[in-house]
């Protein structure tokens, strides 16, 4: 199933993927063990004439063991997950590159603050669906919605965040590879939900500057 994860091109995506693989191997092992043991029991303890089932109500030692072991494993997993989560969602790094993204049925409206770095001024740059960002730079997105809940999903950057009407939510990422990546909406937003998709272009700084000039005409 591993080859199905799309290519990761963000700084924190690798950590998410490592956690995914860790849980994958952990649960995969448990699944195989439980299944094999169950099948062995079903074969070994099938009804045969003359054999009576063991009269047994349980075993405290075994029950404590199989309570404590999963508890320890799950606690470790919680702490590892919590630190990655904090890195991605709680401690966003500073950046001078901010973009406003607003979901609206059924487009992504993308606004760059322009040379004055302020939103709501005449030099703002507004585009629909096609978002360009420079590579190797922290991008901070102010995410919102005009109408219903949308979800800003960049599969290749391991970014997903719901866009909520009436709130502005901070999303950040740093792309480590140039290219063109799909930007679908991941939350049901109405009859046009399917097909609400934009593109993220991760450019070299030169290409990015070229694109800005081109759009400004």
């Amino acid at each position: 199933m591993m080859q199905w994860l799309p290519e990761n091109v963000s700084t924190f995506g690798g950590e998410i993927d490592s956690l995914f693989y860790f849980i994958y191997y952990l649960t995969g092992t448990v699944l195989v063990l439980v299944t094999v043991i169950t099948i062995i029991f079903l074969i070994l303890y099938r009804h045969r004439a003359g054999r009576r089932a063991v009269y047994c109500h349980g075993n405290t030692t075994i029950e404590i063991t199989w309570t404590v072991i999963p508890t320890i494993i799950l606690l470790i997993l919680s702490f590892v997950s919590a630190s990655t989560w904090a890195k991605i969602k709680v401690n966003a790094p500073p950046s001078d590159f901010e973009v406003k993204v607003t979901g609206k049925q059924f487009n992504w409206e993308i606004v760059y603050p322009g040379p004055d770095k302020k939103f709501g001024t005449p030099d703002d740059l507004k585009v629909d669906n096609d978002m360009h960002v420079p590579v190797n730079k922290v991008i901070r997105i102010r995410l919102s919605s005009q109408d219903v809940i949308h979800s800003f999903f960049l599969p290749n950057l391991r970014v997903k965040q719901d866009a909520i009407p009436g709130r502005e939510i901070l999303v950040w990422f740093e792309a480590i590879k140039t290219g063109k990546y799909e930007l679908p909406c991941a939350e049901l937003c109405g009859f046009g939900h399917s097909g609400m998709v934009g593109w993220l272009y991760v450019d070299t700084p030169e290409d990015y500057a070229k694109w800005v000039q081109q759009v400004r005409g």
Partner: protein, 583 residues
């Protein structure tokens, strides 16, 4: 004995005099109400399954005409082609029907009603008229839900989770009265559940047979008891939230609309505060059923009976503090996400304990592979997959990627659609008691193996799609460059899903035949211990010939005190025996 039998027979005769309407329609007999819930649930199961098939057709062969559906009028379909609006309606109504009108009526409504009085050894529910009302209020809710298909604009299309603001304003979906009826139907259904749960709790607390202590109760009764408490506490939260949503839609309030000062996330908090206990409302009875059949057909006591009861209690408590794991990427404060991850990891522990105890029950048994046993093992197998896949999304960073993808769809189908295995286990196991006949075992086994194979072929590959990033609730996967290459899996899943539905034909034939064929079950066809098996099959009005007295726990199989391998709860052993001290 013969005198008592004659009295019981007279009772039965008296019962018949109350006429067709009071016997079959407005019955206050818990067994008839249980059967009514069963038929309601089975009819809705086929409707819910049919909606899923239309959905699967669209996903495999997008925007092509569904064979045989050309007669459906526009704008629902265009010469058999499903438009996006209808697709959204299909998955919304599929989930709503399966959860509220299939699993709840059958697992809670049918088996709760049928089993509680019989298994705790009493004549009926504490409040028989309330019980009848509970069914009929539920049936009205069902009629309202079905009616929503036929109003202009079609049925609800904002997902079964009805996230505001999409659900709160008609202009966002184009659905008017369909969504209103959805709200009203579930609001009404809330009262049905409330009446049922009050009845279950009162009956279990007050009406247990002499000797039936709490820790001698069968685990399925424990599960229904805990489910009833969860229902009593969780459903009113949904009912209140639905009222607020209805007000937003119809009276112009703004509970969930930011332009009026409301908050869309408030809906999610209320919905999931109900919604997560709801998952356990659905799955706890399935766990109870599994414990019954695994013990009975392994001819062995349940391994760790008390741990099984306590872990269900633990699940019930913890289910109130995990709702935020549905909202990790909703915009809720990320620190809350961390807290909800911790509680979610903790709730995995009692689920793991239950799984290990089921395996412990199989260990050293003398296993009879009857149809209910196969379905019980089938539930165990599906629950293990669903439980383990839950760990992926419990880990908040991993959830960022898999949230709202088919990985989630795979996960909750293994848990909630996996309940179908316990549901069939229960139907095959208790059918002899409900209708007086053991269902055909050969057809039952064919039904099991086909269902098990195609269930896994239909739902397991959804994990692969989810890991590839395939979003749920999208109408046409080919609209996305990164999803389109996985399309062959969608075709594979759809074909498997069709075959899963066709696999239910043996059941349907077996079930209908069983209803009308000669009653041959006898009182205790499975040689089981619990009290319902000491009543006649089917039990008359008032259930028991003699009021049972309980001497021991529910799972004294292969006890050294008797030569046969079962020892019913109500069998009195010779004085001086220590049998009375069983747990």
């Amino acid at each position: 004995m013969s005198d008592a039998g004659a009295v019981a027979h007279e009772d039965h005769g008296h019962h018949a005099e109350i006429g067709f309407w009071r016997t079959y329609i407005f019955s206050t007999d818990h067994k008839m109400i249980g059967r009514q819930f069963l038929f309601l649930g089975l009819v809705m199961l086929f409707l819910g399954g049919f909606l899923a098939m239309l959905m699967r057709w669209q996903l495999a062969w997008p925007e092509t005409a569904v064979p045989g559906m050309g007669w459906v009028a526009e704008p629902t379909m265009y010469e058999g082609i499903i438009p996006p609006q209808t697709y959204n309606m299909l998955f919304t109504m599929h989930a709503t029907i399966m959860i509220f009108f299939v699993v709840m009526p059958i697992m809670v409504g049918c088996f709760g009603n049928f089993l509680i009085p019989l298994m705790i050894g009493t004549r009926d529910m504490a409040f028989p008229v309330l019980n009848m009302l509970s069914f009929w209020v539920g049936a009205i809710a069902g009629v309202l839900m079905i009616a929503s298909f036929f109003v202009p604009g079609g049925a609800a299309a904002s997902g079964w989770t009805a996230y505001a603001t999409l659900s709160a304003k008609a202009i966002y979906t184009g659905v008017g009265w369909g969504q209103n009826l959805w709200v009203i139907s579930l609001f009404v259904l809330g009262f049905s559940s409330l009446m049922g749960s009050i009845n279950y709790i009162t009956t279990i607390v007050n009406m247990r047979a002499p000797g039936m202590t709490y820790f001698r109760m069968p685990l399925v009764i424990w599960s229904l008891f805990i489910t009833a408490i969860l229902l009593l506490l969780a459903l009113p939260v949904l009912t209140a939230a639905l009222a607020m949503l209805g007000f937003d839609r119809m009276l112009g309030t703004s509970f969930f609309l930011p332009e009026g000062g409301g908050d869309p996330l408030l809906w999610q908090h209320l919905f999931w505060f109900f919604g997560h206990p709801e998952v356990y409302i659905l799955v706890l009875p399935a766990m109870g059923v599994t414990s019954e059949v695994l013990s009975t057909f392994s001819r062995k006591p349940v391994f760790g009976y008390r741990a099984m009861a306590y872990s269900m209690i633990a699940i019930a408590f913890l289910s109130w503090i995990v709702w935020g794991h549905h909202m990790f990427i909703s915009g809720m404060n990320p620190l809350l996400g961390t807290a909800f991850m911790m509680t979610t990891m903790v709730i995995a522990i009692p689920s793991a304990i239950k799984t290990f105890n089921w395996m412990g029950t199989l260990w050293g048994g003398s296993i009879r592979f009857t149809t209910p046993m196969l379905f019980g093992v089938g539930f165990l197998s599906a629950f293990v997959v669903g439980g383990l896949s839950g760990i992926f999304m419990a880990s908040t960073p991993v959830d960022i990627f898999i949230h709202d993808t088919y990985f989630i769809v795979a996960h909750f189908h293994y848990v909630v659609a996996g309940i179908i295995f316990a549901l069939f286990a229960a139907v095959y196991y208790w059918f002899p008691k409900m209708f007086g006949r053991v269902l055909n075992e050969t057809w039952g086994k064919i039904h099991f193996f086909l269902t098990y194979i195609f269930f896994n072929l239909a739902f397991f590959p959804m994990h692969f799609l989810g890991v590839g990033g395939h979003m749920r609730r999208i109408y046409n996967p080919l609209q996305y460059e990164f999803i389109a290459p996985m399309q062959s899996w969608n075709v594979f899943i759809t074909i498997s899903a069709f075959l899963l539905v066709l696999s239910q034909i043996p059941f349907l034939i077996n079930f209908v035949h069983g209803l009308f064929a000669v009653k041959n079950a006898g009182d205790n066809p499975w040689e089981a211990n619990t009290l319902e098996w000491s009543a006649p099959s089917p039990p008359p009005h008032g259930n028991f010939v003699d009021s049972p007295v309980v001497y021991r726990g529910a799972y004294e199989y292969s006890s050294p005190e008797v030569t046969e391998d079962f020892l019913p709860q109500d069998r009195e052993l010779a004085p001086g025996s220590t049998a009375g001290s069983g747990q």
